[in-house]
């Protein structure tokens, strides 16, 4: 099915199943420990051996030799595969660093060997016996130093980014120079780790020349093609299966070392092999959100109309790596005649920078929305009013391009009302509650709404069961549930009559999970397949497909009503289709919007920052399941609170690695850090998004929240910290004298 015209009325609009806050249909499996995650696939490979990955202890250079003699003699060891045993393996989709093979070390903890043994403990113990001789080389590890010689980004080079690295509209410099009120400030955001609950993990088993990988991956289609290329096999000889994924956040968009090494080790040893990356490897062996240095300049008239806005960002990456596209949202969010956005990229020899939840917008809004707060103060305007004044219904860089549906103003106004924003004291450092300096902050949220081609197969069984098969993944997001809701709505059956099977590369290729495109795209693909199935059912039962109503387990038209199951009484009916988004979907700008409001307390003595209240108002089209959507938004708010207050991969700029590479050193928010969170979804649909009229929310929740926290800290203390995370050491010297 081609999506080439705005969605009209369709069976989803009935909202008998879709739009309901249904519990997760996979919830009971997860809470009872029966959901099979990759590393626990004892059902498929009960005799799997254990692979333990050894990471490089230098950040850059070459491996001269690897002596595995002692390791091979260690108890239980079945085999050792080293990076010198194989030529450098091709990279898969979106890989920047090479994952294995050859003697070149690009970054710390790059995989250089996998030790395979009968038990995990034996493999790990033997890994300590592998002797590696390195030829280290000097590397570039400090973004601040390398930023001075960073190169402009030539072209579109990152998820969500549009246009060139530098984009100019009007005369920014001229307008900025003439503006009566201006801001010119530079900010920094930190390297961050996805820190998902389930580590990257794979069980690989060969049957002849065919390999199956039970793995943890967000994008089965990409992974399937990538592994075929990396293992030099035709795609039909490779199968991936990831029915459950314990979090991804962008860290599992692509194939990582666990999958490659499990496949190689299984081949070398003739045994199924399971490999999980240890927690210390996740920081330096995999990918991270790159740190940025961002400069924002805003010029405005006295009444708060923005006349000039510039956002420039510098980040670093390995050779062939892209920038963090932190200026992206600045092209869309606020009006202004004269504009400049630009990115620079420094060469660094740190581990690979890549996508993490809302790449671009998360660190970009963390800065832009603080700059807006600073500007509002200079103008003497309320921060909410300043944003409303500069709202736009067209893309400011392309005035002919309208937003399909943009209700940022609605989010701001409702949020301000519900949060009690009017009670905020605009003068910072004035409100005290016992030990706490109390402040309120807000920020706008914006995230592009991407769409991806997505396919599904739908089966109607003789008992009336509807089975959906797609390689879509559920990474904790609720995909199982919203796909079941979609199929139930389309086929007119209760949710219990729908079975959803996900994550298998033998199923039709879906959008996968990423860029908050998964929910809308994958359910639209299921919609397309269901439309096809409805047609064959109607035909089978002698209905005109356009007249037939699928409802209450029956197909009805006029005064005829036939049980749905009857269509499959002499054999299962199967339909397969994809939703494809063509040029039409680019004729308007489809984006998601929101507003964050946060109250923080800052300890008057120690400068510890603790969040007290949070509210997000989201405008993201039809909400397919308010319960799982809320869960996505509050999860994003938690993650953004981490970015605001504590999360930072600490760079050892001398040795070239992230030193705090475990969950004791890399702190993420714990329950005690997160107060009650409120989420309000505006009741809206966007017919330009898909037949589902839905948009993404998985990344909207993290977009802007860090700035709302930072602005609240300023309102509480009067101290503006322009370097994330806002830890107490950045406040303590400027705190007022303790009373």
């Amino acid at each position: 099915m081609k999506f080439d015209t705005a969605a009209g009325p369709n069976p989803i609009d009935r909202l008998k199943v879709v739009g309901k806050p249904t519990d997760r249909i996979d919830g009971k499996f997860k809470t009872t420990g029966t959901a099979p995650y990759a590393y626990e696939r004892h059902d498929v490979a009960p005799d799997a051996a254990y692979g333990y990955v050894l990471g490089s202890s230098i950040a850059k250079g070459r491996v001269r030799s690897i002596d595995t003699a002692l390791a091979r003699q260690a108890p239980g060891v079945i085999g050792v595969v080293t990076t010198l045993d194989t030529p450098r393996i091709e990279r898969g989709v979106m890989n920047v660093a090479y994952l294995f093979g050859g003697d070149v070390i690009q970054h710390y903890h790059q995989a250089i060997a996998v030790v395979v043994a009968e038990t995990f403990e034996q493999a790990r113990a033997a890994s300590f016996l592998v002797k590696v001789d390195y030829a280290p080389e000097d590397g570039k590890f400090d973004l601040a130093t390398e930023a001075k010689t960073a190169e402009p980004v030539p072209a579109d080079s990152g998820e969500g980014s549009g246009g060139n690295g530098e984009e100019r509209i009007g005369d920014f410099e001229g307008a900025f120079a003439q503006a009566p009120v201006t801001l010119d400030a530079t900010y920094r955001t930190a390297d961050e780790s996805h820190a998902m609950m389930e580590p990257h993990a794979t069980v690989a088993a060969w049957a002849g020349d065919r390999v199956t990988l039970w793995t943890s991956n967000q994008m089965i289609g990409w992974g399937h093609g990538s592994l075929a290329k990396m293992l030099d096999l035709p795609k039909e000889k490779v199968r991936l299966d990831a029915p459950y994924v314990g979090g991804g956040f962008g860290g599992k968009l692509f194939v990582r070392a666990d999958a490659v090494l499990a496949a190689l080790a299984a081949k070398a040893t003739g045994r199924p092999v399971k490999v999980a990356l240890t927690r210390p490897l996740i920081a330096n062996n995999t990918t991270h959100r790159p740190a940025t240095i961002q400069r924002v300049r805003i010029g405005a008239t006295q009444d708060g109309t923005i006349t000039a806005i510039a956002h420039e960002s510098t980040s670093g990456n390995l050779p062939d790596g892209g920038p963090e596209t932190a200026v992206n949202q600045t092209k869309y969010l606020y009006a202004g005649q004269n504009r400049l956005t630009a990115m620079k990229l420094a060469r660094l020899d740190l581990p690979e920078g890549n996508a993490m939840r809302a790449p671009g917008e998360a660190p970009g809004l963390a800065v832009l929305e603080v700059a807006m707060d600073e500007m509002a103060e200079k103008l003497g305007l309320d921060p909410v009013a300043f944003r409303i004044r500069n709202d736009t219904q067209v893309v400011p860089t392309e005035p002919d391009l309208r937003f399909s549906h943009r209700d940022l103003v609605g989010c701001l106004k409702l949020g301000a009302e519900k949060f009690g924003w009017a009670k905020r004291n605009p003068k910072p450092g004035q409100v005290r509650d016992g030990q706490w300096l109390v402040g309120l902050g807000m920020a706008a949220a914006f995230r592009d709404n991407m769409v991806m081609k997505s396919g599904a197969r739908v089966r109607l069984g003789g008992d009336g069961t509807v089975t959906v098969e797609t390689d879509m993944t559920d990474i904790g997001t609720g995909s199982y549930t919203i796909i079941a809701q979609t199929a139930a709505e389309m086929m007119g059956v209760p949710l219990e009559k729908v079975v959803v099977r996900l994550g298998d590369s033998d199923f039709p290729v879906s959008s996968g999970s990423g860029g908050q495109f998964g929910a809308n795209s994958s359910t639209a693909g299921v919609y397309a397949a269901c439309v096809k199935l409805r047609e064959s059912i109607a035909q089978k039962l002698g209905f005109n497909a356009t007249d037939a109503v699928f409802e209450d387990g029956e197909v009805r038209a006029g005064n005829r009503a036939i049980p749905l199951a009857q269509a499959a009484s002499d054999g299962e009916l199967v339909a397969e289709d994809s939703i494809e988004f063509g040029k039409f979907s680019k004729t308007q700008q489809v984006s998601t919007f929101g507003a964050h409001f946060v109250e923080v307390g800052v300890d008057v003595d120690t400068a510890e920052v603790r969040v007290r209240r949070m509210l997000a108002v989201c405008a993201a089209g039809r909400i397919l399941n308010p319960k799982s959507a809320r869960s996505q938004v509050i999860g994003g708010m938690v993650m953004g609170t981490g970015a605001a207050l504590m999360e930072e991969l600490a760079v050892d700029t001398k040795r070239g690695f992230f030193a705090n590479h475990d969950l004791a050193g890399y702190e993420v928010p714990v329950h005690a850090d997160i107060p009650h969170q409120e989420v309000i979804f505006l009741d809206e649909t966007d017919p330009m998004s898909s037949p589902m009229k839905a948009k993404g929310v998985g990344e909207l929740g993290i977009s802007g929240i860090a700035a709302a926290v930072a602005n609240a800290v300023y309102n509480a203390t009067g101290i503006r910290v322009r370097e994330y995370p806002i830890t107490l050491d950045k406040l303590i010297d400027r705190m007022p004298d303790a009373a």
């Binding site: 990471g55 202890s57 108890p75 403990e121 790990r124 113990a125 300590f128 210390p280 030990q435 300890d603 003595d605 120690t606 400068a607 510890e608 603790r610 207050l645 504590m646 600490a650 760079v651 050892d652 001398k654 040795r655 030193a659 705090n660 590479h661 475990d662 004791a664 050193g665 702190e667 928010p669 714990v670 329950h671 005690a672 850090d673 830890t727 107490l728 050491d729 303590i732 010297d733 705190m735 303790a738 009373a739």
Partner: protein, 316 residues
Amino acid sequence: MKSFTYERPSTPAEAAAAVGRTPEAKFIAGGTNLLDLMKLQIETPRHLVDVNGLGLDTVEPTDDGGLRIGALVRNTDLAAHPRVRKDYGVLARALLAGASGQLRNKATTAGNLLQRTRCPYFYDTAQACNKRQPGSGCSALDGVSRQLAVIGGSDACIATHPGDMAVAMRVLDATVETVDGVGAARTIPIAEFHRLPGDDPARDTNLQPGELITAVTLPKPVAGTHIYRKVRDRASYAYALVSVAAILSKDGSGHVAFGGVAHKPWRVEAAEADLPKGAKAVTQQVFADAKPTHENAYKLTLAERTLGAALNQARV
């Protein structure tokens, strides 16, 4: 993890003898720190002597009005003990500020005293660390040091003691009771229990090889407001950036020890006379010889302000 042998002796002296006579042996109690370190091969004992069954898990009053805490009393139980809650509030609060509920259920009094540093370079076996591998150097000196010691460090090591409980015990003037392999008991004042790193940072304490902690004794209670204030980057489950254990009267007089700043709980008794003059008067003396890195100099300001907060709290 290297393979190891394991035994459960029946008396403290037997346990001490077993560790004394077996090369590369260690005691194991709650295992909340040792097992992690064994998995990472930072600790590689060949023999474990399990001291959980030795009956060292009672809390009893002493003749002079103090409290004798068995080495194996779990952190959860100790924090909830009525006498501890009534008379040694600083200790109960310190215990509850540490780790998580699950860990406190398992962690023991003696094991808590013996927990090892959380310096990131100690934990990464590819990096130089004199504490983990004597003579290899110290990557932390010019590395990531935001959490590390500001005072009492050396050119060989700037690790911090990560615990909370020991800081409270330091301000309480606790005494550590031990037994060795021939059954000889001795007592070690808490001030002399932990060491500074000097040129031998591999040794965290002054325990002799095979010497087993049997109890920690607290002297009779000290009157005053018992305060344990732990400052950290998140609200729970994080190591102290700075902590203050204090017992203070309304006029500010009393006692104070600091955590998160040194290789051991840090207390300078001579400075305590100036507590009524305010925090600065005290911390200027307590941290007179501080040598912070550029990343952790904030701890000096933080220590002063946190002590100030404690003094304010005591005045109310």
